[in-house]
């Protein structure tokens, strides 16, 4: 007689339809005399029935759509289009032009809100010796501002009725920036990526002339110059030795582009945004003051 272990192998053959008559006979004979195998066989039968009777699960009705959007993801433009369409469709009681105007308004407001986000000046200027500041020189209607590099955004010109000295020291200047985040149209500085100084003067031409006079003494030179007449702005790219940065602002004052009384600059407070070995490239934005 076959032993129990080998009999259990026959279970599979029986249920797979691979058992022949002899197998059936062996199994039947064994089960009549072995109650343990008989019980086992009943459980095996139940197991097979349970496996074969597992209820099928259905995929979601939009399975194909989900798959197609996974294989062919919509472009960003298509998503925006579909958002606008859904937005307009979701408010059928509003006429389409009104919906479109509302949407445009939302976009404009969001854009303005985005641009009004206060600027972190610590990103604009990398400090040395603890100085964290915006360079701003004002005197007699002219002032020099440090322009944000990372934000590509010039600091707003201070409205100063009295001459005010630009301090490279941290606190004062930091307050100046964070207190007046005003949205404005992009300037030349933004376009060029200028990020260093803004000179505001009633006579832009004289200020630039002063710069030309100053530069030879500082071993510097003008490397770029762009104008935008409608705004009266001139952007001048300058290359000077890195250690002459502080001297430049002083020299601008001394040569008349900025009529400073006393100019305080912490000589090495600023790290140049672009350096070429020991050469510093900076952009000076000359803009006409309202005075």
């Amino acid at each position: 007689m076959m032993d129990c272990e080998n009999v259990s192998v026959l279970f599979g053959k029986i249920f797979d339809g691979e058992a022949d008559e002899a197998d059936h006979k062996v199994l039947e004979d064994h089960l009549t005399v072995c109650s343990a195998c008989n019980e086992d066989y009943n459980w095996y039968k139940l197991t097979m029935q349970a496996l074969n009777n597992l209820q099928p699960v259905s995929p979601p009705s939009d399975f194909l759509e989900q798959l197609n959007s996974r294989i062919h993801p919509k472009s960003k433009f298509a998503s925006i289009k579909s958002f606008i369409k859904n937005f307009l469709d979701s408010v059928p009681q509003i006429p389409v032009p009104v919906g479109a105007v509302s949407l445009a308004l939302i976009v404009v407001v969001a854009f303005m809100a985005y641009n009004n986000t206060p600027v972190d000046t610590s990103l604009a200027i990398a400090p040395i010796a603890g100085a964290r500041s915006i360079a701003s020189a004002v005197d007699g209607g002219a002032h020099i501002n440090r322009v944000s590099q990372s934000q590509g955004q010039a600091a707003p010109p201070p409205v100063a009725s009295a001459p005010r000295l630009p301090m490279l020291a941290a606190n004062q200047a930091a307050n100046t920036v964070s207190s007046a985040p005003v949205w404005r149209f992009p300037t030349i500085a933004d376009e060029i990526g200028g990020d260093n100084l803004t000179v505001e003067s009633p006579r832009v031409d004289l200020a630039i002339e002063s710069l030309r006079n100053v530069l030879p003494n500082l071993e510097g030179k003008i490397v770029d110059e762009k104008t935008r007449n409608s705004f009266g702005e001139v952007m001048v790219g300058v290359v000077i030795p890195s250690n002459k940065y502080a001297d430049l602002a002083s020299a601008l004052v001394n040569h008349g582009s900025v009529e400073a009384g006393t100019l305080q600059i912490e000589g090495k407070a600023l790290i140049p945004s672009r350096t070429d070995s020991n050469q510093l490239r900076l952009y000076i934005r000359f803009t006409r003051s309202s005075q």
């Binding site: 139940l46 074969n52 209820q55 995929p59 399975f63 798959l67």
Partner: protein, 219 residues
């Protein structure tokens, strides 16, 4: 040599039958060839038809691997995506369905291992017990009276699904393909690249494990 008309007729019939068998054995009786060919030429509609044809079966295989609708849906999508992206690698020396379910079992096994590593099944099991407020011990079937009802009951279905989940991945895939989806041993051996003997012995062991689990829970 004397050849009777019956012999000639028998030979003729046999030849015809053989000729009729050749194309079906070459394609494996698979009518997907045309769709696959169109699909390989970039026909999206042909691919959609293949998806519609196999989505239920693929979804079921996926579900049996992971035991969760959401995960199964994601897995099934992954399987079809992989098939779509690798269609150029399908050489046509097996049926498309065999190739597709080969991908399905590979991906299913990988997903199961991934979820197991992350404790997905442990968390789900305890969560289910909390939600149902009932354990297996409440299921006390009377096997002598109404086996049909018992087998279709939700509890038994769950016991079987859990027993499948607890199998080793190498055993699980064979049970799913053979006992749930009904593939032949030959197809399974081709899908899993295993000898038929190994396939059968693994299946036997897997069935015995499930049987013991059912016995333990339902006795």
């Amino acid at each position: 040599m004397d050849i009777s008309p019956e012999t000639i007729l028998s030979f003729f019939c046999l030849t015809l039958a053989s000729l009729a068998m050749i194309p079906s054995s070459k394609s494996g009786g698979d009518d997907d060839d045309e769709l696959v060919g169109r699909c390989a030429r970039g026909d999206q509609e042909a691919f959609n038809q293949l998806v519609i044809k196999y989505q239920k079966k693929v979804f079921n295989v996926a579900y049996r691997f992971v035991g969760d609708q959401e995960e199964a849906n994601d897995l099934a999508q992954e399987i079809f995506t992989a098939a779509y992206q690798n269609l150029n690698k399908f050489r046509g020396d097996s049926k498309f369905s065999t190739w597709l379910f080969q991908i399905a079992t590979n991906r299913g096994k990988n997903r199961f291992k991934y979820l197991k590593r992350r404790g997905f099944f442990v968390n789900r099991s305890s969560q289910n017990q909390d939600e149902d407020g009932e354990g297996y011990q409440k299921v006390v079937p009377d096997l002598t009276t109404n086996p049909e009802n018992i087998l279709s009951s939700r509890q038994i279905q769950k016991v079987v699904q859990d027993a499948i989940e607890e199998l080793e991945p190498d055993h699980k895939e064979i049970v799913i393909l053979r006992d749930i989806e009904g593939f032949s041993y030959e197809e399974i051996a081709r899908m899993l690249d295993l000898p038929e003997g190994t396939t059968k012995s693994r299946l036997h062991r897997a069935r015995m494990v499930i049987k013991e689990k059912l016995k333990k829970v339902l006795s």
